[in-house]
């Protein structure tokens, strides 16, 4: 389960390089040296992470805008 997107929406998504299904995993997100874990879809082989659109255009965009305005 992720707080930021519905993993069911991404069921069946695979890593384009490894052709392996992405798995929900803890990924460290970092801003200005401070990191925190977020449940995201990740390739268990190469570590490629999918940032879902709703997160990228939502909270992540808000953080980046706030940091740019800083």
């Amino acid at each position: 389960m992720s707080e930021y997107f519905d993993p069911a929406k991404y069921e069946g998504w695979v890593c384009a390089d490894c052709n392996i299904p992405l798995q929900l995993s803890k990924v460290d997100v970092s801003y200005l040296g401070n990191s925190f874990p977020v449940d995201l879809l990740k390739c268990p082989n190469c570590g490629l992470v999918l940032i879902p659109e709703e997160l990228a255009l939502g909270k992540m965009a808000e953080v980046e805008k706030a940091l740019e305005d800083k």
Binding site: L32, N34, V63, K70
Partner: protein
């Protein structure tokens, strides 16, 4: 059951259970301005599990007293040091005689207390000329304070104030501030994740609000007039 913020098990992973940015380094920097002498009486208001008092009583030969509202943290403090006088009490109602302390510390706690009452109590317990040390988060951009207030309440983040407001409150209580030191760089190495987990704050929301308010960290040293 809701676990009180500073009793959350996540703090056990913090080195020496120092639950604030800068840890003992900032405490040392502030104490360097206090002309400490062995035997002086130091009170830590919001002492948590007692890491600061364990350190300063051993390093400077001070007589230590610590109060915290958490019975669990005071019990932990008692287990680790029986020389310090640990008591469960609120910062707004200190169980000590007036003018009985040489130094009072309030590290990352002032904004959690009802500030005027806690300051008034700290000043009451201090001897004339005694040192008051505070460190806490503060808003370097006053117009971003509203964003901090939108975060879940009860933490030093949501209650952080601008510098001028802090100084005004402190000086109106009969203290004269001699040192104000920005040490915002300590936030870069403090595990914000620990605080967001314990306080159940969305880490993205925290970063948005912190950036808007230009969240920083300070310590100050003041003297009782």
């Amino acid at each position: 059951m809701q676990i009180p913020l500073y009793e959350h098990p996540v703090w056990q992973s913090v080195p020496e259970q120092v639950m604030r940015p800068g840890g003992l380094t900032v405490t040392e920097q502030a104490l360097a301005h206090c002309d400490l002498q062995s035997g002086m009486r130091v009170l830590d208001v919001g002492c948590g599990a007692g890491a600061t008092l364990r350190h300063v009583t051993a390093a400077y030969g001070l007589t230590g007293f610590g109060v915290d509202v958490s019975a669990e943290l005071i019990a932990q403090a008692r287990q680790t040091n029986s020389q310090v006088g640990w008591m469960r009490a609120q910062g707004e109602s200190l169980p000590f005689a007036s003018e009985s302390m040489d130094v009072v510390l309030s590290e990352c706690t002032l904004s959690i207390f009802e500030m005027e009452s806690a300051l008034s109590e700290c000043v009451r317990t201090l001897k004339r000329g005694g040192g008051f040390i505070a460190s806490d988060l503060y808003a370097r951009n006053e117009s971003g304070v509203e964003a901090l207030r939108q975060l879940p309440s009860g933490t030093c983040i949501s209650a952080a104030m601008p510098k001028n407001e802090i100084l005004e409150k402190i000086e109106s209580c009969g203290l004269q501030v001699s040192i104000w030191q920005d040490c915002s760089e300590t936030l870069k190495v403090f595990s914000i994740c620990t605080l967001t987990t314990a306080a159940k704050i969305d880490p993205f929301d925290l970063h948005i609000a912190a950036a808007k308010a230009k969240l920083g960290y300070y310590f100050l040293v003041a003297r009782k007039l």
